[in-house]
């Protein structure tokens, strides 16, 4: 369907994601690296409140690793017997703790701009992972004639061009545990794949199950098409003839 968008925005090109193919799953090593980028960079401002530590198990981390990650953060729990709230180490069942207590605090800390929750970000913007990759790598100086207000940055992929989030990703800003060179495009790609998984945690299951379904349904369609043709062959090959009455 043709859709006309506001013209003040550059449309992201389509990148050849490794999970694009009909038979391809998400790149789980990339999800793991992307989680690292989220944890070390994005999570300073962006919440991911639909994802729990248990979701990582079997996807990007082992159960022990996920437990260790959960224990490294403090979660407010309670009230205890004295009616007080207390902090305890996280458990697998805990959701990722948000960086701010509420939207107001988030706005106050970010020049009035609210960093959106990233749980569904892949589907909440046109272009999905292409958009995210382009946005994260697309920061540049504003073109001549455009001035960007103090505290905002210029990004042609963002609606209107002026974005509250400054450029976040830089070459070698972190060290990947698997030794992958941490270039800007690598960081952006990994976090885009991670967020794709966050939005559609069932992506791989869906492909696997639907491939099976497709095989079964094609097989059944073939059989019923043949059986239909077989049953109808009598009707289809009838010959209607007019026989005048014999005198």
């Amino acid at each position: 369907m043709l859709r006309v968008e506001a013209d003040d925005q550059l449309h992201p090109p389509h990148y050849p994601w490794s999970h694009d193919g009909i038979l391809s799953s998400l790149d789980h090593a990339s999800i793991r690296r992307g989680y690292q980028v989220y944890k070390e960079v994005c999570s300073a401002c962006h919440s991911l409140d639909q994802i729990a530590f248990r979701n990582l198990v079997g996807v990007s981390h082992t159960e022990e690793e996920a437990k260790a990650l959960a224990e490294s953060v403090n979660i407010e729990d309670g009230p205890n017997e004295d009616g007080e709230m207390f902090l305890r180490p996280g458990k697998l069942s805990d959701y990722f703790p948000p960086p701010y207590k509420n939207d107001e605090e988030a706005r106050a800390a970010n020049n009035g701009a609210l960093p959106p929750d990233l749980s569904l970000m892949n589907k909440a913007r046109h272009g999905g992972e292409d958009y995210m990759f382009s946005l994260l790598t697309g920061y540049c100086d504003p073109p001549a004639g455009i001035t960007v207000r103090e505290g905002l940055s210029y990004n042609p992929y963002f609606t209107g061009g002026a974005i509250g989030m400054p450029q976040q990703l830089f070459d070698d800003m972190l060290e990947y545990e698997d030794g992958t060179p941490a270039t800007v495009s690598q960081l952006a790609k990994d976090v885009s794949v991670f967020l794709k998984w966050c939005t559609e945690p069932y992506y791989d299951d869906k492909k696997r199950m639907f491939m099976k379904a497709f095989l079964i349904i094609s097989f059944l369609t073939g059989i019923s098409w043949y059986y239909k043709r077989h049953k109808w062959s009598v009707l289809k090959t009838r010959k209607l003839a007019y026989k005048p009455p014999v005198k």
Partner: protein
């Protein structure tokens, strides 16, 4: 087999011995496909309702819960959301088939059918509000506000529908209740649709009385319908495997939780309402737009009166056939215009022309073509 022809089993016999015209084409499959769609929507819907919470603070996250935590919940949601799109594809094919082959000659069946379509639209609109995303909220606000165009009592009626002074928790809760109720109303109407159909039996591509050549429903049409079912299920699966098709059917705005303080740049309904939405926006007057919106569907009811042709079906009428494909094209153009930004040229102009053609086809062309066809039919060479 007297048993299946009497008593309780008699309705079942409708899919066994029912005499059905031998020459009906695959276009006649959409009726049973619609039955399948309704069945799928009710089944997945009942299961989704077990996990959904119709409260403004919980609705959005309960959908996330269904997708992330409920066993195979993502399949339920996937099938229910895309099932609505397939449902409408089938219903448009079904209506188009009816218009082309003159199936409105079964007047009562046709009237019940238009009623089904109307209630189906209502159900789909209400259902789209339930996930409580941005487009759910703003779509509900825009569409319910249309009622306020009714002179003098409109404002009160809108507040009565909302259960408050804006789309709120009351609205969501009653919409959930209605979204559960209306499909069962549809089931009742579908039975009425079938009962009235079986008074005369199905129409056929030639548009002639087909009593001389009918076959039993089983095995000919049961196997043909099963083949249709499998192809529909195959389409479901293809949409699931190829994510770009699904993205086309979804609006990114609806993956953002409803926020009454932030208005999306483009508010537009789901694709299956876009043609009616384009007609609504093409009329410069609010009340006029709402009337045109309703008229665009109700004009179908007039088809049995408007088409005076003595030859049913367009099979032998090349001129009417030609114009039929124009109305099909017009439907696509209106759908496109419905998704274009509001109040921008050339979309407004194109929309108005398409709207005039839409009503012109039904109110002028159909009667005129019927009249012409009768002239030719009765022509005996003497003028």
């Amino acid at each position: 087999m007297r048993l299946r022809k009497t008593g309780l089993l008699a309705p079942v016999n409708d899919i066994i011995d029912l005499p059905t015209p031998s020459n009906i084409s695959y276009w006649w499959n959409f009726g049973s496909l619609l039955g399948l769609c309704l069945g799928i929507q009710i089944l997945t819907g009942v299961l989704l309702a077990m996990h959904y919470r119709s409260d403004v603070s919980l609705a959005f996250s309960s959908v996330a819960h269904i997708v992330r935590d409920v066993n195979y919940g993502w399949i339920l949601r996937y099938v229910h959301a895309n099932g609505a799109s397939l449902f409408f594809i089938c219903v448009y094919c079904h209506i188009g088939r009816g218009l082309y082959y003159g199936s409105y000659s079964r007047v009562l069946t046709w009237i019940v059918g238009v009623l089904i379509y109307f209630i189906m639209m209502l159900t789909a609109f209400i259902g789209y509000v339930l996930p409580w995303g941005q487009m759910s909220f703003w779509g509900a606000t825009v569409i319910t506000n249309l009622v306020s165009a009714i002179p003098s009592v409109g404002g009160s009626i809108v507040e009565w529908i909302w259960g408050g002074f804006s789309v709120s928790n009351c609205t969501l809760n009653r919409f959930f209740s209605l979204h559960y109720l209306l499909p069962f109303v549809l089931v009742g109407l579908v039975l009425a649709h079938l009962l009235t159909l079986h008074e005369k039996g199905a129409n056929n591509p030639l548009g002639v009385v087909s009593l001389s050549d009918r076959s039993t429903f089983h095995v000919y049409f049961t196997i043909k319908d099963i083949l249709g079912f499998l192809i529909l299920l195959g389409v479901f699966v293809i949409i699931g495997i190829e994510p770009r098709i699904e993205t086309l059917l979804q609006d990114p705005e609806n993956f953002i939780q409803a926020n009454p303080l932030v208005t999306p740049v483009h508010i537009q309904p789901e694709w299956y309402f876009l043609f009616a939405y384009a007609i609504l926006r093409s009329i410069p007057n609010k009340l006029g737009g709402v009337l045109a919106l309703f008229a665009s569907i109700l004009v179908l009811l007039l088809m049995p009166i408007l088409d005076r042709s003595k030859i049913r079906s367009l099979t032998f009428n090349p001129v009417a056939k030609f114009f039929f494909w124009f109305i099909v094209g017009d439907f696509f153009i209106l759908t496109w215009i419905g998704s274009a930004p509001a109040g921008t040229e050339p979309y407004v102009l194109i929309g108005r022309i398409a709207t005039i053609f839409y009503f012109g086809y039904f109110l002028v062309l159909v009667p005129l073509l019927g009249y012409l066809s009768n002239l030719f039919y009765e022509y005996n060479g003497t003028t």
